[in-house]
Structures are given as structure tokens and as C-alpha cells.
């Protein structure tokens, strides 16, 4: 993970059951290779104590295309000894302009999740 310049893509994972940030959620970022129809993994990491994951991608690598953020939500709830309905949550989104800044939060409980394009 990088760098002094902020990633153009940021996330924030929140545990809405307990009203706390979801810390130590494993996640990975992928970009679709539109020719081969394959997902290339660009980065992987884990949310910090605040539920954030700085340094997801550099501006240079943030090319227009289709991306996927995958959150290992099932493993997170298992670590809290709770059952959950979803083994993971994948959010697939489109980047049209490399100069955009995209904030992609994930709000989750054991039996729900939501995401939105934020700021």
C-alpha cells in the first residue's frame, strides 16, 4: 500500500448492528480486463480501527473501467462469533473519469448491507 497522496478511491466499513466501525475487515480491489473478461486484483488489505483502508489505489492506476471492491464480511462476523447471511459483499462500479474521487462506504449488519456513492 502507498503513499503520501490520498487514494482517489476510499471506503469506510461500518457495523450498523453495534454502531461501530468495522475494523479488520479484509478487502480487495479488482479491475475488469474488458478484453479477457477477467478480474485483475490490484490491491488487498484490511480496514483499520476506524473501518477505513487508506492507499487503495494511486491516481495513476485509477484508469476508467469497471472495478470491484470485495469485502470479506462473512469472515468478519465469524470473528465476532455471529452468523451472517452473506459470505462476502462485492460492489461492482464504473469509473468514467480518472480525476474523480470516489468514496464507497459499506454499511453492514449480519442480515443487511448497503452501499452508496459518497464524498
Amino acid at each position: 500500500m502507498m503513499t503520501s497522496k490520498r487514494s482517489p478511491l476510499t471506503t469506510h466499513v461500518l457495523n450498523t448492528s453495534d454502531g461501530v466501525p468495522a475494523a479488520r475487515v479484509s478487502l480487495s480491489l479488482h479491475r475488469l480486463d474488458s478484453q479477457l473478461k477477467l478480474w485483475n486484483m490490484l490491491n488487498m488489505g484490511m480496514t483499520d480501527e476506524d473501518g477505513r483502508c487508506p492507499g487503495l489505489i494511486s491516481r495513476e492506476a485509477f484508469l476508467p473501467g469497471m472495478y470491484k471492491l470485495r469485502f470479506e464480511t462473512g469472515a468478519y462476523w465469524t470473528s465476532l462469533e455471529r452468523d451472517s447471511f452473506y459470505p462476502y459483499a462485492e460492489v461492482v462500479f464504473t469509473v468514467t473519469d480518472s480525476m474523480q474521487n470516489i468514496h464507497l462506504p459499506l454499511l453492514m449488519s449480519c442480515f443487511s448491507y448497503s452501499t452508496y456513492m459518497g464524498s
Binding site: E90, V91, F111, S112, S114, M117
Partner: protein, 120 residues
């Protein structure tokens, strides 16, 4: 759509939260994960009705324990409304541990957000 006299144990309901209306005629598909090959088996595909629902999604016989995926062609829906959107599609992957229960999986949708929950 599969026709069935008994209600599907798995139902969905797609809602447009930007306009406060059901999402009619959105393409969706249901898949089950084959763990041995790590591939998705297509179970059913079609479009929601005018109420944003899809009766007959799966039969009781086919509704085995496992990992399922509901895929909603959301970008195509927004394009048909003449609107841009952020997500090319929304896939919800969930685990069925007790096929004797009923599972209701709504999708609440706007151009720049979506949410899902296990309902009733």
C-alpha cells in the same frame, strides 16, 4: 419464469428508492454455487413484473442448502429510464442453511446506492 402452484421459498422485491416506485422489468438471474467446481449454476432468469417481484423464482425441490447469488441488471434498468448510474449490476451472494425457511431478499435501488436485507 418457472411456473409453480406453490409459492417460491425464495422471493425478491426490487424498489426504486429515487422515485418511490417498484422496479418493473429489470432482468435478474438466480444462481447456486457448485462448490466442487467453484462455478455458478444458473437456476432461473427473467424480469420482474410491474410490482417489482419475480414469482416462481425457485421450486422447493431445487431449494437446497448452499451459497446462492441473485444478480440484478441495474445499469440496463437505469439506461431504459434514460439515466446514468454508478453500478453496472448488483450481485447479492447469500447462504441458505435451512431450506425449510422462507427467504425474502429485497433490493432497494437508486442510481448511486443500493441496499439489501433479509426480510419477510
Amino acid at each position: 419464469q418457472l411456473s409453480t402452484t406453490m409459492a417460491s421459498p425464495l422471493t425478491t422485491h426490487v424498489l426504486n428508492t429515487a422515485k418511490g416506485v417498484p422496479v418493473a422489468n429489470i432482468a435478474l438471474s438466480l444462481h447456486r454455487l457448485d462448490h466442487s467446481t467453484e462455478t455458478w449454476l444458473l437456476i432461473n432468469a427473467g424480469h420482474t413484473n410491474t410490482d417489482g417481484r419475480f414469482p416462481g423464482l425457485i421450486t422447493k425441490q431445487e431449494f437446497l442448502c448452499g451459497v446462492y447469488k441473485l444478480r440484478f441488471e441495474t445499469a440496463r434498468y437505469w439506461e431504459s429510464m434514460g439515466e446514468p448510474s454508478f453500478y453496472p449490476y448488483a450481485e447479492i451472494v447469500f447462504t441458505i442453511s435451512d431450506p425449510d425457511q422462507k427467504y425474502h431478499i429485497p433490493l432497494l435501488l437508486s442510481q448511486y446506492s443500493y441496499s439489501t436485507y433479509r426480510g419477510s
